[in-house]
Symmetry: C2
Subunit: 583 residues, 2 copies
């Protein structure tokens, strides 16, 4: 061992101890007759002191030559500091150095290794091994480890068994695009990397494993939006002989356990909301309920006058922005411009100020009188001093636009407090959703989701109305988990594939193994999966996942540190029976 103590360990009680430390030079100050060095490792920083009157001249010389990020080993005596630093745990002591060994020199790093760095995203990614030395990234990775340990302990204590499922599986066209892997031993054939272990965890239920989980990498070859990764990690779970209520119970318990052990926050019972209610009230199936601004539908109280924009709209809907009645014309125009940006896509916005004196002042005063506007205030829950913002148009689109505006205002007004946690179950998702591109229904969750028994009769007549036993766990406006009760009999599964546009042959070809398995005693089962990257980020009070992943890829799916992907040689391709085809 190169050290007797870590750099975060020494305290005033260690005074006079002879110690050996090793770590990185965070910074040094050279006052001529004295040199101070902050020595850093994962555990903290300890101040070293080299003093002309007490340190060998040769070591003094060496100390003066130390650069940032040099790796050194020192031996010395713990002494009490003259000027203590109460901001750091080791701040009462320093080590008077007697021996110094440079274990490895360092070039000047391309950005400063400080909590606030001067390095941009690109350079930090290229030198990720330096970026991780910074506390915000290092602590995120340590935090992630703590979260996964707590998850594993909680689930293991409840008899969940972690089972590793294979990474080299079979490609299926349903769902997102697969990453594929050519098989050398089976010419012309390919494995796929799993988008999730869905079918395997269901087979484990057929196998009688009863309670399964796995913290597992999953892969989707999709065009990457900001903050989405081609490989990501799921906490994947499945249970047998349960109903939806049991799953919600267990995983509400898991989330509660995490909030308690990690943040000492106790939340007794998570609220629940149906998908329909979430869409109507927040325009969004993952509402952030840390703040209000619930949607007020205004069709009834706005379509009786001669304002044709509203009269022709499927939906007129508003929110009350708290204490914003005093916004200037310029501020309101900026908001209007914001909703008209292509990313949001509204064609305009109506506003109504609820003045302190109880009167209203709107952008549509020529159509609506004070009595009308009072009803708007009532519908949106606006109080005196609030600003009502109203959008109109096709229902789904308008809700989505208003939801974007609500979230933006939540951010601007500081209502989305990172260390406040508001979990929410969203339940009763639709089974199917219509896809304009392919002109067919797609499974909203996945094709193995069980329809609600009472809605089964609608499958043939009104498929879009069939609700599923599907649920999402939402935390602070982010979907952190989702799942469903699964189909567990061959007939329902075959029916489901039929409704998704599979021929019987296609269903058999792609999912025959699962439907066959259902014929040998499949138990009722269901489960869910958490997105670990996002869960960890949100628990850590962040919305971007990148610092919670040690080696993330950029938006082109590249690892710029190791420079992957890359070309490979012809011999390797030929052994795999494939050729590059750039046509």
């Amino acid at each position: 061992m190169y050290r007797s103590h870590s750099c975060g360990e020494l305290r005033i009680a260690d005074t006079n101890k002879e110690v050996t430390l090793a770590g990185w030079v965070q910074k040094s100050r050279d006052k001529g007759f004295m040199v101070w060095v902050d020595l850093r490792d994962r555990y903290g920083i300890t101040q070293l002191i080299f003093d002309e009157s007490r340190t060998d001249a040769s070591i003094m010389q060496q100390a003066k030559a130390l650069g940032r990020e040099f790796v050194i080993q020192v031996k010395g005596t713990v002494i009490e500091r003259e000027s203590k630093n109460s901001n750091m745990p080791t701040g009462e002591v320093e080590v008077l150095v007697k021996e110094l060994q440079v274990l490895n020199a360092s070039q000047i790093p391309p950005f400063t290794i400080e909590d606030e760095t001067d390095g941009g995203e690109d350079i930090r990614m290229k030198y990720r091994y330096l970026d991780i030395r910074r506390n915000p990234v290092k602590n995120s990775l340590l935090f992630r480890h703590k979260v996964t340990q707590e998850v594993r302990n909680y689930l293991s204590n409840l008899d969940f068994c972690e089972v590793e499922t294979p990474y080299l599986i079979k490609s299926t066209p349903e769902g997102a695009r697969d990453f594929i892997v050519p098989s050398r031993m089976n010419p012309g054939q390919f494995y796929a990397l799993p988008q999730s272990p869905q079918t395997f965890k269901q087979l484990l239920m057929v196998a009688g494993m009863d309670r399964y989980f796995q913290i597992v990498k999953c892969f989707r070859d999709e065009d990457l939006r900001a903050d989405r990764q081609p490989e990501f990690t799921q906490i994947d779970c499945e249970m047998s002989f349960i109903e939806q209520e049991d799953i919600l119970d267990i995983f509400e318990g898991l989330t509660r356990h995490l909030l308690k052990t990690i943040h000492q926050i106790e939340i007794t019972k998570f609220p629940r909301m149906t998908f329909d209610e979430a869409m109507r009230t927040y325009g969004n199936d993952k509402p952030d309920i840390r703040f209000g601004m619930k949607f007020g539908e205004l069709n009834q109280v706005s379509q009786h006058k001669e304002f044709s924009v509203f009269n022709s709209a499927e939906l007129v809907v508003g929110i009350a922005v708290p204490e914003a009645a005093n916004y200037t014309r310029k501020q309101i125009d900026e908001l209007i411009d914001w909703v008209k940006r292509p990313q949001v896509g509204a064609s305009g916005m109506v506003y109504c100020k609820c003045e302190a004196d109880g009167s209203f002042k709107s952008s549509v005063d020529k159509f609506y009188d004070q009595g009308d506007l009072a009803k708007w205030a009532e519908a949106t829950g606006a109080k005196a001093g609030d600003l009502i913002l109203v959008l109109s148009g096709p229902a789904l689109k308008t809700r989505t636009q208003l939801s974007a505006l609500r979230m933006e205002l939540g951010n601007r007004l500081g209502l989305r407090k990172p260390h406040e946690f508001a979990p929410l179950w969203v339940i009763d998702f639709p089974l199917l959703e219509w896809d304009e591109d392919t002109a067919r229904y797609h499974a909203m969750h996945h094709p193995f989701t069980s329809p609600k028994q009472e809605d089964m009769h609608l499958l043939d007549t009104d498929p879009g109305k069939v609700r599923a036993n599907a649920y999402d766990l939402v935390l602070n406006g982010n979907e952190i988990g989702g799942g469903s009760i699964r189909i567990h009999d061959k007939e329902t599964q075959a029916l489901m594939f039929k409704h998704l546009g599979f021929t019987a042959e296609e269903a058999q070809e792609q999912f025959g193994f699962l439907m066959n398995a259902f014929q040998y005693g499949a138990p009722p089962h269901g489960g869910l999966a958490f997105g670990l990257d996002r869960l960890t980020a949100i628990l850590g009070g962040q919305e971007t996942i990148r610092d919670y992943i040690a080696f993330p890829k950029n938006n082109s799916g590249r690892d710029v540190m190791i420079d992957a992907p890359s070309t490979i040689d012809a011999g390797q391709l030929s052994e795999l029976h494939i050729a590059v085809d750039l046509k």
Copy 2:
């Protein structure tokens, strides 16, 4: 929840309770007026009783129609059994059924779901979800979970942080063959699946993570021998600011922890042996030291007579088989045939019986007298009643042959007791090994392994003699882990690549990211990796890993259950910019 209790839970104290159970029909016995059903779930078996005099006629009918592996739910009363079964934890009670619901019927399974099944390997793999219902497989998976939990707890308590490294990385020609993954977003370029997270864990050390581990899937596209899988799991570990002794300490501690928590076996200190000694004494770098039959080198005491076979041999070496002097001619001939099989490849074998009266009887009595043979007995440690078996030829080859014979005899004589555990560190491995095929040196461990400082001067003159700071942990004749102290400076790493036949450009192209990282303050570091599949199997008292993997692949790399790999459609290939090329 479909049940109030599991099938392994009820005891005599539960008598008279109303309970709900759910599970699989293990078997049923129909005596006409009574039907008994063994109901099974992951947790155990509970006997159900249907009794004409106490059970509804309709339920009685249903009970008689139950087939093996039907999934049912029953409600009933716990009663004391008339004839108790002390072999099962629930054996004192049974449940008198009042309500019965068939949750899912089952076809007749293709093999019996019993500890000893009539199903062959192929059919068991195709219906792996049924195979896992069998106790030996189910218990292996539960055992694996327990092992990984203990590993994680042990390492986390020692400040090791589990960090996930990427699965989509860069292909490098060094080492085994990579599985590759075409990149859709980067036409003509490919990711590789990791053979191990080696370079990433070293970068995490450069990043200051100090103590890292990960239980992680690794991939090697090699021709599969029995009991090797294209995807396998490692417990991957790395530490900074340590020397070899520290690593041996920590991971000896881990292994001790596992033996203690899992088997209540305490082993104080693991023995150590150099690679050279292991090869000389056991002909093998992973000796099973649960039994003796150490090699005795006989050159000195066998090359002074006129037996040209020995005289011309580089090595004459023997073992003493305990209490085998009474083997018949036929038994000995069978052993001679065994070593002459192509898989072993010896050209012949000499024997010498050590008779009870102290005399010797050998197959080469015309060359050697009793005094000579007494020296053989001395060199091999043979006692009266033992049988000395002697091979000769080129040293390495002959040692390998004799090692195979020793292991075979260990098995035959029952000396390899599955529940006896004999760990051993093998240290001081050679840095390089000569490869005849490519006529160059290869890294014996991997190119990042540090040579021993004191052997560095031999790198240019006698590379094969350079020893590495590399070590293997051997358990019961299997390598369960191995690792090394790593190179942590650019110059030594560049020198190493040179000796492995890389040009400077090739080294930079493939491993430039690592050598660059070494320039920014890389700490001294090292680590090791355990093969989890094998570790678990051996701790479980088995030598084959297949039952410890939920969904293994066969020797052609196929998953016969889901039928992967498989062909994929042309559109998918075209999006990935590749074509199948079967020429």
